[in-house]
Symmetry: C2
Subunit: 383 residues, 2 copies
Amino acid sequence: MAIQMKFKVEKQLVDQEGIGRARAAEFTVPGTFGRPYTVKTPVFMPVGTLGTVKGVTPGELRNMGAQIILGNTYHLYLRPGHARVESFGELHRFMGWHQPILTDSGGFQVFSLAGLNRVDDDGVTFQSHIDGSSHRFTPELSMEIQRALGSDMVMAFDQCPPYPATPEQVQAAMRRTVQWAERGLRVKLKDHQLRFGIVQGGLYESLRVQSAREITALPFDAFAIGGLSIGESPDLMQAMARFTAPLLPQDKPRYLMGVGRPEDLVEGVRAGIDLFDCVMPTRNARNGQLFTSQGKVNIKNARYADSKEPLDPECSCETCTQYTRGYLRHLFVCRELLSARLNTIHNLTYYIRLMTEMREAILSERFEEWVESFYRKRGNDVR
Amino acid sequence: MAIQMKFKVEKQLVDQEGIGRARAAEFTVPGTFGRPYTVKTPVFMPVGTLGTVKGVTPGELRNMGAQIILGNTYHLYLRPGHARVESFGELHRFMGWHQPILTDSGGFQVFSLAGLNRVDDDGVTFQSHIDGSSHRFTPELSMEIQRALGSDMVMAFDQCPPYPATPEQVQAAMRRTVQWAERGLRVKLKDHQLRFGIVQGGLYESLRVQSAREITALPFDAFAIGGLSIGESPDLMQAMARFTAPLLPQDKPRYLMGVGRPEDLVEGVRAGIDLFDCVMPTRNARNGQLFTSQGKVNIKNARYADSKEPLDPECSCETCTQYTRGYLRHLFVCRELLSARLNTIHNLTYYIRLMTEMREAILSERFEEWVESFYRKRGNDVR
């Protein structure tokens, strides 16, 4: 049985209806390096799909202030294989990252990325997106893979219904998600591993209530909101996150999976969410879409060709302090390797700093002023 | 007129015929940052085609011990344009590299990379490899571009005949190369810029003698051997470098252009060459071909999938001290961005350390023992 996660809310804001919302907290994971690691929330977790956050090193992630990174169970199962990762001393030592790692369950990729998949009550059969070979995931296998990877935080294997879906489809996926959660909990993990349960329920409030009740009744260390940011509008996503957050326990971390844009993180924190992950900062970096305190910059744009300005004058990352917009544009246009790297360093720094600023604003009880200033500075990007 | 380059031979070995060969030396470039920079030779210059050594930062290059990097006139003329680079404070400030830069003349790329080209006594008309647009390089324009780029070392605009070529073809190119050298010398450069003349002559000893006599009669600060490593066998290349090196002045730096494999650098130093450049360490890194003290490693090979060994146990670079062969193989197989970067850091460190070791061996008068040990350790790679 997993060790109880130590979770401490340092400050929580309460909305007009008396509901606990934005909060600054910390929790401690036992860790695999002989000493526990304390995570300060709200926190953004960069995505390291295949045992690397694309284009940057563990040292750079540390310098940016990254606390936790993600690993993808589906991808690491296919390449290089979870048993191989374990033989290298688990994912931390394999990739040289000595801070917490959260692994997803593989469920989302199995449904969205793999080829033809067939789901039944026992599990999912799917085809590898690499070579079309046939594989089968069950809740038990997902736990075994994550156990081998040795992540600090293990996600339950859930079924995320597509968007849009009928209430009947969502309910069927919810039922399976609860059964799978219970089966996963019966699989022993390593002593240092903590477990996250996942609430589903699509965009139906009544189903979210039901799913939250069923999942939070199970002995998880923390809870995630799944099934959002899969095609619905940002407004709907934000509204459903805001509806669901208070349905999760006050005394455990809350994780909004796969979200999102900077404004989605702001609204998520405002709703009472503690953890976030998204490929957006890293993927957009590779596509030249950069986030700045003044709004978005498409670095490919010819208007930057002669710009001697830093990308974001308010940012202190390597990219903003050492290079100009003109040079960054040149690298992008020439498809130079350094482009993806410098852009990634900036975008991740932006996301991480956003979370730090929100944390400080909550602690000093000026969060709403901070939110107002955030939207004002972004000008046209105001939602 | 260019400032005289300060060049000091610290130690030179003499072969059995009394010819000065391998040497440890240093020379000083005036520099563009208000202070001169002293280069220790023999030295390998990483290639930074488009204002970046592919995949690595200036900071990483400094950490590896890189002293000089190359910039490519042809590429920078096309993108982002030399006038634009100049407006950013020349190439050093544009890319954030505060040590010496050598720029080639553009001649080699115009003949080898550009589309249909037409050469006449005045210059070369060619088509951009990017968009097919028509351009014309003359010796004067090459100097003007390099002047705008602000490199510390400027190469003469030469004609490199293809391999194989008849003596008549080589002679015609030589004649043009001398005329173009003289025309280039009449173009005023910036005060800090030093000039390199280029000896041609193909694989004909008598023509090399003639070209060396004509070119070294001109007031260049240093001399390069061009027209090698363009398709001839390594043995022929090494023999011609060895033949040509002593034809160049003892009291000026000697540069063997575009060479080469580690063993070619060893034989080049042995012949009396001071400077080298080649895309091999960087390009091979991106293709997973890694140079180690025990010989070549093709990191894609399945035999490395489970290897917990460092890439090169004798290397102290970031890649060798922080990652395993198994992880490097995983990154390569998954085409991760980090692969090219870590491989490049290692290969360049290998090349730079090779030069440092040779320099130390020359200074301590045990160069031939070092060479013997170099070939012995590489085992099957012995030429």
